[in-house]
C-alpha cells in the first residue's frame, strides 16, 4: 500500500515516541527527523530506523520537502518555535500536525472533529494539550445529550512525565485546555486544574471530568454516549478507559478517566504524553487517507 511521507520536527521524548507510532502506521511513512542537537538520542534512533536526519534545524529541511515528497509535517518543538516553523513550511503545500501549545491552527481532537479534516480548507491542526486530548471527547459526548453549563477538569500527571516546557507554563496549559472545553466540546464555561504528583512508582495519568447540567439528567443516554465515545478514543489510544463512574450527583456528572501509555519510547505511566502522540498519529492518518483516496 502506498504511504504518505512525513517529517517530524523536534527530536525530544515526544518526537521519538511519535516516531515509533508513525513507523507502525499503515498509511504514514516518516522519512525525516529534524533536531538541533547532534547528540540527541531521538536523532540517533531515527537514523537507525533509516530516516534522514539533520541537526541544523528546520531551515535545512525546507529544500527537501518537494524533493522527498513530504506532505505532512509533525511539530513537537515549542509554541514559539512552531510559529517560525509553520512560517517556513506552509508555502511548501504541506499539512501540519502541531503538538505544541501554539494553537495557531484548528484545535483538533480525532474522536470529535473526525470528518472535518479533509473537508475544511485547514492546513494546520493543533493537538491542544494532553489534558485536552483526554477530556474534550468526554465533555463533547455529554454535550451531545445535555447542554453543559460548566465543565471542570482535574488532570493529574506523574512528575516524571511532565517536562520543563509544561512546568514553566502551567498557566498556558490551563488556559489552552479550558478554551478547548468550550470551543471544541461545547461547554458554556470551563475550568481546568493540573496536579503534578511525584509518587513512586509513578501514577498513571488521571483526569476527573465534572459537568454541571441545568436540565434533568438522562442517565441511560449519558452512559451510552460515554461508552461509545470511549470506544472511539480507544481505537487510537488503547490505554484510555473510564476507571470509575459516570457518577450522577444532583445536577452533576462525574467521570474518572485513566490513560495508560503504549510504552513505545515513553513508559506506560506517561499516558499524558502518549495520548498526544497517539492523537497526532491518528490525525496524520486521517489526513493521509484523504490524500490517498
Amino acid at each position: 500500500m502506498r504511504k504518505v511521507r512525513c517529517a517530524i520536527i523536534g527530536s525530544g521524548n515526544i518526537s521519538t515516541d511519535l516516531l515509533y507510532k508513525l513507523k507502525r502506521s499503515a498509511v504514514l511513512d516518516p522519512v525525516w527527523m529534524v533536531g538541533i542537537d547532534p547528540e540527541s538520542e531521538g536523532l540517533k534512533r531515527a537514523a537507525g530506523m533509516g530516516l534522514k536526519i539533520t541537526s541544523s534545524g528546520i531551515a535545512s529541511l525546507v529544500p527537501h520537502i518537494q524533493e522527498d515528497r513530504i506532505q505532512i509535517v509533525f511539530d513537537a518543538t515549542s509554541a514559539k518555535a512552531h510559529v517560525e516553523n509553520w512560517g517556513l513550511v506552509q508555502g511548501e503545500g504541506v499539512r501540519m500536525v502541531d503538538l505544541t501549545p501554539a494553537a495557531i491552527g484548528k484545535l483538533y481532537v480525532p474522536s470529535i472533529n473526525l470528518s472535518e479534516i479533509n473537508d475544511s480548507g485547514e492546513r494546520n491542526f493543533n493537538m491542544i494539550s494532553c489534558g485536552g486530548q483526554a477530556t474534550t471527547p468526554i465533555v463533547h459526548a455529554i454535550s451531545q445529550v445535555h447542554d453543559i453549563r460548566y465543565a471542570e477538569v482535574v488532570a493529574s500527571m506523574s512528575s516524571q512525565s511532565v517536562g520543563p516546557g509544561s512546568r514553566a507554563n502551567l498557566d498556558e496549559v490551563l488556559n489552552t485546555t479550558s478554551n478547548a472545553l468550550i470551543k471544541v466540546s461545547g461547554a458554556q464555561s470551563a475550568k481546568v486544574l493540573v496536579v503534578v504528583n511525584p509518587a513512586e512508582p509513578p501514577m498513571l495519568m488521571r483526569n476527573t471530568v465534572s459537568c454541571v447540567i441545568d436540565s434533568e439528567i438522562d442517565e441511560a443516554a449519558i452512559n451510552d454516549a460515554i461508552t461509545r465515545r470511549v470506544e472511539q478514543v480507544r481505537q487510537y489510544v488503547p490505554g484510555y478507559r473510564v476507571a470509575n463512574g459516570p457518577c450522577f450527583e444532583e445536577n452533576k456528572i462525574i467521570v474518572y478517566l485513566e490513560v495508560k501509555g503504549e510504552g513505545d519510547f515513553l513508559p506506560p505511566y506517561a499516558g499524558n504524553l502518549d495520548i498526544m502522540t497517539a492523537a497526532a498519529r491518528r490525525t496524520g492518518e486521517i489526513i493521509a487517507e484523504g490524500i490517498l483516496q
Binding site: V195, N197, P198, C247, Y256
Partner: protein, 344 residues
C-alpha cells in the same frame, strides 16, 4: 496601608492563616463582614501579615475545592481597605491559580503571596514567583507536604525558589506529620543552603498535636516567619493556634510584636462562636497526621466515607498509601469507589 513590614520589636513575623486555611474549617463559607471583623482584630493586635483567600488560594473556587460565598477579590478588597498596619497576602498554587489571578488580587490590595508547590515540584513556580516580584509583592516560596522530601532534597527545592526570586522559603507541614526533630532538620538544612538574606518560614498543622511545639522548634532552628491562626482555625486539626504560640513566645522571650491578650480575645469572642464544630484532633484529623495525608482532605473524606459506607480512617489511610498530594480531592471518591469494589 503600609507598603513595608516593620521589624521593630519583632524577632519573628506572625502570618495569620485564619482567613485562608481557616476557610477550609468553614467549608469556604465565611461572609465578607466576618472576614473584615476578624482581620480588624488581627490588625489591631499588631499581626503584620494576614492571608485572605479561598482555602485553595487564587483560582480555588471550583467543584473540586468548593465555592466560597464571595470572590477572592471581594474578600481582599473589603479587608485591605480596613487595615492600619497589616499587609494582606494570598495563596497561589500553580496549576490551580494563574498569574492573571495574581494580578487581579494585587489590584484588589494584596501585597504578599505564598507561591505554593508540592515539596518536590518547585520548578512549576518560576513564572508566578517572578511576576509577584515584578509587582513588588513580599514573595514566599511555600513547599507543601514537606514530610515527603528529606532535608537535603527540600534545601535543593528551596534554592530553586530562591533563584526564581522568592524572598522567603517555607517548610509547610500540610499533613501535620512532622515531629519537632524533623522540623529542626528541615529548617536547618534550608538555613544552610539559602542566602543569609532569604528568610525561612514554617507552616504547621496540628493533627498530631505538634503545632506549637513544631513552630517553636522552627524558630529555634532559624525560622523567622511563622504561620498561625486564631484558635488554630485551619484545615484538619487546624494550624498552630496564634494566641497559644504568642504566649509561648513571650515565655521564651521571642518577640512577636503582637498583643497577646487581644489575640486571646479575638480567638475566644470572634472566632469560636463562628465555628460550626470545634477545631480539634478528632479521630479523622489524627489519621491525617498519622497517615501523612493533606489536611484539606478532611471534610470531603468524611462526606465520601459516609456516602459509600466506609470508615473515614480506612479511606484516609488508603489515600496516604496511594501518595495522593495537595489538590487531588477528586481522588477521594475515586479511591472510595475502588475500595468498595475490592471489598463490597
Amino acid at each position: 496601608m503600609n507598603a513595608k513590614i516593620t521589624r521593630d520589636n519583632r524577632d519573628i513575623l506572625l502570618h495569620d492563616m485564619s482567613l485562608r486555611d481557616g476557610m477550609h474549617a468553614k467549608k469556604e463559607q465565611i461572609e465578607v463582614a466576618q472576614m473584615v471583623a476578624i482581620a480588624k482584630a488581627l490588625d489591631s493586635a499588631n499581626v503584620p501579615l494576614i492571608q485572605v483567600t479561598h482555602g485553595a488560594g487564587l483560582g480555588g473556587n471550583s467543584l473540586q475545592y468548593g465555592f466560597a460565598v464571595a470572590s477572592n477579590e471581594e474578600y481582599i478588597e473589603a479587608v485591605a481597605q480596613e487595615m492600619s498596619q497589616a499587609l494582606i497576602s494570598v495563596l497561589l498554587i500553580p496549576g490551580i491559580g494563574t498569574i492573571a489571578e495574581l494580578e487581579s488580587a494585587y489590584r484588589a490590595g494584596a501585597r504578599s503571596v505564598h507561591v505554593a508547590t508540592h515539596c518536590t515540584e518547585a520548578d512549576t513556580s518560576p513564572a508566578h514567583i517572578g511576576r509577584a516580584r515584578e509587582l513588588g509583592m513580599d514573595t514566599t516560596g511555600f513547599l507543601m507536604m514537606a514530610h515527603l522530601n528529606d532535608p537535603a532534597g527540600l534545601a535543593r527545592q528551596g534554592r530553586l525558589m530562591e533563584s526564581y526570586g522568592a524572598q522567603t522559603v517555607y517548610v509547610t507541614d500540610s499533613a501535620g506529620f512532622l515531629m519537632p526533630d524533623d522540623v529542626t532538620a528541615r529548617i536547618k538544612s534550608l538555613r544552610e543552603a539559602l542566602r543569609p538574606v532569604t528568610e525561612i518560614g514554617f507552616h504547621a498543622h496540628h493533627n498530631l498535636g505538634m503545632g506549637v511545639a513544631n513552630s517553636i522548634a522552627a524558630v529555634r532552628a532559624g525560622a523567622t516567619r511563622i504561620d498561625a491562626s486564631l484558635g488554630g482555625m485551619g484545615a484538619g486539626a487546624g494550624n498552630c493556634p496564634i494566641e497559644i504560640f504568642a504566649a509561648a513566645c513571650e515565655r521564651l522571650s521571642i518577640r512577636t510584636g503582637a498583643d497577646l491578650f487581644a489575640l486571646m480575645d479575638a480567638a475566644e469572642d470572634i472566632v469560636s462562636p463562628l465555628l460550626d464544630e470545634p477545631i480539634r484532633v478528632d479521630r479523622a484529623a489524627l489519621t491525617l497526621g498519622y497517615a501523612g495525608v493533606y489536611s484539606t482532605f478532611l471534610h470531603k473524606s468524611k462526606l465520601v466515607a459516609e456516602k459509600h459506607g466506609l470508615a473515614v480512617r480506612d479511606l484516609l489511610v488508603e489515600l496516604g498509601r496511594r501518595r495522593m498530594i495537595g489538590g487531588q480531592e477528586d481522588m477521594i471518591e475515586d479511591t472510595a469507589i475502588d475500595m468498595k469494589r475490592a471489598a463490597p
